[in-house]
């Protein structure tokens, strides 16, 4: 099967509508960023406390907010995207007393939505060793013979069971199926423990200093990486190729950040990883196109630069569509079914693959042509505005082919 056999689309002839589209998208993103006062940073970057809670039966978000407000907590409560609908995230941005905030959230939720403990042990909180400690004496008292090793294994098995059931045991009778739980042991567990109707499945507290630091470091690392790529491509091709590739990648990143802002999505550390992935992906795509242009420059010296680039894009079209299609497929699968932790990550990937593929053709390649035309104008006395003053009078006009070669010389 072959989809694109000897195609000859005039991509660069239609570059303006696409460049304008890019500008509109970039502008929309930048305006959104400006209106919202910068990207919506996750707590990794701005500092704060985030508590993720799973409920046996999820209360309305408003009620959770009200319960927290009653404890003077100004928290942002949200349903976690792409997850089973019993998980909510609670986000406190207060700089002060972050440590206390975490504990207060946990306590006030337990008070409002949890079950009274009546002196029993909450099996949906704490770890295996705490459970084992709680059961040890009770089992001995009930004269159920269990060695230390058996007890530890038992507690670990129960914790594994909880882990595989979204962190929440709904009913103690469920435990009958756990390895090592005999009816007499289950009886002791029932005497000693109860399952609360909510469980804290994740908490993050990040101090504002560390957040700012992370942000600075991540941005710096990416800028240095872009610089490194520019130098390498300049070395392998021409400096304008390096500049074009970096501008294209920058364009992709800005548009993706803009889309994050438009869709009101958070930038977390994982999203930064996705942005790095998209930078790598877009760069890869651009280099493949450039490589073909370089190769064609060797064998098709008589053709103009624009038709040559057009032909190069057409020659790599089949590969571009296939690769992008295939990777997009994986990214889409991750976006749709990958769960809430990976949601922002997958969103960035999907945006990045689409924008990254398109920018190689409609951003990076036109830059080469613009630069080429600019040089040519300069060398032709009197035609280009830039040439008038700088061009010494009497320099012989260079032959056309050579100028072309000069704009995109092969090393």
């Amino acid at each position: 099967m072959e989809l694109f056999k000897n195609t000859n689309y005039d991509f660069l002839g239609k570059k303006w509508p696409f460049i304008i589209l890019s500008l509109i998208l970039t502008a929309a993103g930048l305006i959104s960023l400006a209106l919202k006062g910068g990207p919506r940073y996750g707590i990794d970057f701005r500092g704060g406390a985030l508590v993720t809670v799973t409920f046996a039966q999820r209360p309305p978000v408003d009620k959770v907010r009200a319960a927290l407000a009653a404890h003077n907590l100004n928290a942002d409560v949200q349903e976690v995207q792409g997850s089973p609908d019993d998980i909510i995230g609670i986000d406190v941005r207060d700089d002060k007393a972050l440590q206390a905030a975490r504990q207060t959230i946990v306590d006030s939720l337990a008070a409002s939505f949890g079950q009274p403990n009546n002196g029993k042990y909450n099996i949906n909180a704490g770890g295996a060793s705490a459970l084992a400690d709680r059961l040890r004496d009770a089992l001995q008292a009930a004269s159920v013979p269990v060695s230390d090793q058996q007890l530890n294994d038992l507690a670990a098995n129960i914790m594994d069971y909880r882990k595989l059931h979204s962190g929440l045991i709904h009913n103690l009778d469920e435990l009958a199926s756990v390895k090592g739980v005999t009816p007499s042991i289950l009886n002791v567990i029932k005497q000693q423990a109860y399952p609360d109707t909510l469980a804290i499945v994740g908490t993050e507290v990040v101090g504002p200093r560390i957040g700012a630091e992370l942000q600075r470091k991540a941005v710096l690392a990416v800028l240095y990486a872009l610089g490194g790529m520019l130098v390498y491509i300049a070395f392998r091709f021409e400096w304008i190729y390096g500049a074009a590739a970096v501008i294209a990648v920058f364009h992709d990143t800005i548009i993706t950040l803009g889309l994050f802002s438009l869709f009101n999505k958070e930038i977390s550390l994982t999203v930064v990883a996705a942005l790095l992935t998209l930078v790598g992906y877009s760069m890869n795509d651009t280099i493949v196109t450039f490589d073909r242009i370089r190769e064609n420059l060797k064998i098709m010296r008589r053709e103009g630069l624009e038709p040559l680039i057009n032909r190069s894009v057409n020659q790599t079209l089949s590969r571009t569509v296939l690769t992008s299609g295939l990777t997009l497929l994986t990214a889409l699968a991750l976006f749709l079914f990958g769960g809430h932790v990976l949601n922002g990550f997958a969103f960035a990937l999907v945006c990045g693959i689409i924008v990254g593929t398109y920018s190689s053709v409609f951003i990076a390649s036109p830059i080469l042509i613009f630069w080429h035309n600019f040089l040519e104008d300069r060398k032709r006395p009197g035609t280009g505005p830039a040439s008038v003053a700088k061009e010494p009078v009497g320099v012989p006009k260079a032959p056309k082919e050579k100028v072309r070669g000069g704009a995109a010389r092969v090393k």
Binding site: M1, E2, T52, S83, Q103, G126, G127, S129, A130, Q140, S147, D148, M159, K163, L164, H165, S166, G167, L168, A199, I200, V201, G202, T203, E204, V205, G207, L220, A221, Y224, M229, V231, Y232, T270, V272, A273, L276, T277, G280, Y281, M283, N284, I287, V288, D291, E295, L322, T323, G325, L326, T327, L329, T330, A333, L334, L336, F337, G339, V341, L342
Partner: protein, 538 residues
């Protein structure tokens, strides 16, 4: 099959075997296979669940404490040498940055005693620099070398104390280390896999050491199991098995009584001292009155038996009771001054030498980690399957090459992570995804090139050769560019960004090997058998 292909095939098989060995070892059973896999593949806290704390050690606390001790000593020495002074005080640096600005002010030293005063300080307090403020008042500042040493000691001691405390919780895989950021020397990173209750851990770190003297019932055993087996697998009532602290990687176990003879709160004071006659270092301690009565009764009845000093659930010493002890006793057998001093510190408090401020705390409940792995893994596999099916439809038999190359790439990547003892985190998986993307791309590039060459009318073998060699230039360019960017990310990035860079570089190297070398070898093998190849399934 030519000799050349045979050699290439041998190289490929060798790489596969080395990789598989790195991932699962040589398992003898299914359980062992799973165990080896778990041992070799380290999942980061964001995937496996656990707690990560970043704390800033308040070094100024240690500096203040050091100044306080110095002041006590100064007063003692001045008394001995009959030096009169008006007042002595220290300043109170509140911030970490000001820690080494600590100073002691001594006022009202009379002119006649200046000489003695100066020589006392020069001889006995060489850590300090003496500067006169006016005729009678002086200022002591800490020497920069001493300040550095004090900082270093405080950090080491804090790390050791935290380590002992979390080890006492039985958290084997936990780690305490400096965050390694150049501008944050006082920061520690504590990682606690499997802990989803950080409040408990933090409370434990803040409390003083839990110290007990327990009756030794049996031991030492070399392993916990040995102790258990000796008692038929079930411990006698009211006893527990307690490990000693790690010394040179060695650990032994004692069976001790559950209820202690003396608790930490019973100890009034402890200090290191040198034995007058033999010159050995020992640790003296003083008990409260009430505890002294209990201890006297106990020691009288148990002369010749051992008692274990247990700090935070670990035996730090198990001395033999030599004689009846009431309110003061001494523990002999320390190897040097440091050991004796450490023990006295543990007896006194065993708490952190300086306070800590938590800057970051992340807990991923194991279930959240498990959920994200499961969902992400499922989606990833579904996506990959779709990719493979599409390639099979599009490139027919040649796609089998690509699929084999992809699978091998994944195996090499996982094996490399295992050999390097690297930890796989969520950003690392992002690196894996980009690797897969570029691996698919490499194969597509090659196949499209071969098709082009075939369309240009080349014979099959020549087209395959030309396709590979032309695509190689492009593949090298894309891969090297990405490796260059990874180098920068690794040098300048923080933890997660570094993880991304590491997996990506490994993946890219594996990819050049699989997509170019392995795939070409398979093509060569397929084409070499036939005399005249006229068609290629691509």
């Amino acid at each position: 099959m030519t000799r050349n292909i045979k050699i290439k095939a041998a190289v490929i098989v060798a790489v596969i075997l080395v990789c598989i060995y790195g991932i699962i070892g040589i398992p003898k059973s299914k359980d062992e296979l799973v165990a080896n896999w778990k041992k070799n593949i380290h999942l980061g806290l964001d995937l496996s669940g656990g707690t990560q704390l970043v704390m800033q050690v308040q070094l100024q606390d240690a500096f203040k404490a050091f100044a306080d001790t110095s002041m006590d000593r100064l007063k003692e020495e001045f008394k001995k040498d009959n030096i009169a002074f008006g007042a002595m005080d220290r300043n109170d640096p509140g911030r970490l940055e000001d820690a080494d600005k600590i100073e002691i002010d001594i006022k009202g030293v009379t002119g006649a005693q200046t000489g003695t005063f100066r020589s006392t300080i020069a001889d006995q307090f060489s850590e300090w620099v003496l500067t006169p403020v006016n005729v009678t008042d002086y200022k002591l500042t800490l020497k920069p070398t001493e300040a550095l040493k004090l900082k270093h000691d405080t950090m080491t001691q804090t790390m050791a104390t935290i380590e002992r405390k979390i080890n006492g919780l039985g958290l084997a895989e936990s780690s305490v280390q400096p965050t390694g950021r150049s501008d944050a020397e006082a920061e520690l990173l504590v990682q606690l896999p499997g802990v989803d209750d950080p409040a408990h851990v933090k409370q434990l770190l803040q409390t003083q050491a839990v110290l007990e003297w327990d009756e030794v019932k049996d031991g030492p055993f070399t392993t916990r199991e040995e102790g258990l087996t000796k008692h038929g697998g079930v411990l006698p009532l009211n006893t527990k098995l307690v490990p000693t602290v790690m010394r040179g990687g060695q650990q032994s176990w004692y069976l001790v009584s559950r209820s202690p003879i003396v608790r930490g709160t019973d100890i009034r004071d402890a200090s290191a001292a040198q034995d007058q006659s033999v010159g050995r270092w020992e640790t003296n301690f003083v008990l409260t009155q009430e505890a002294a009565r209990r201890f006297e009764r106990y020691t009288e009845a148990n002369i010749g038996n051992r008692a274990a000093i247990v700090v935070d659930g670990q035996v730090i010493s198990a001395p033999t009771i030599q004689s009846r002890i009431s309110d003061t006793g001494r523990i002999t057998g320390a190897a040097n001054q440091e050991e004796a001093a450490d023990l006295s510190l543990n007896l006194r408090a065993g708490s952190l030498p300086a306070g800590v401020v938590y800057e970051e705390e992340r807990t991923v409940g194991p279930s959240l980690g498990a959920d994200s792995i499961r969902e992400g893994f499922r989606a990833g596999i579904a996506g990959l399957l779709a990719v493979v099916v599409w390639m099979l439809v599009y490139y027919r038999r040649s796609a089998i090459n690509a699929t084999l190359a992809l699978i091998l790439n994944a195996i090499i990547l996982v094996a490399a992570l295992s050999y390097f003892d690297a930890t796989l985190t969520l950003p690392g998986i992002a690196g894996v995804i980009l690797t897969i993307g570029m691996a698919v791309d490499s194969n597509v590039l090659i196949f499209e090139r071969i098709r082009e060459e075939l369309r240009a009318g080349k014979a099959v073998v020549a087209a395959v050769d030309a396709g590979f060699s032309k695509a190689l230039a492009t593949i090298i360019d894309t891969h090297v560019t990405t490796v260059v960017s990874c180098a920068f990310l690794f040098i300048f990035g923080t933890g997660p960004v570094k993880g991304f860079a590491v997996t990506l570089v490994i993946g890219l190297i594996a990819n050049v090997f699989t997509a170019v070398f392995v795939s070409k070898t398979i093509f060569d093998f397929e084409l070499s058998g036939k005399r005249q190849v006229t068609a290629l399934s691509i």
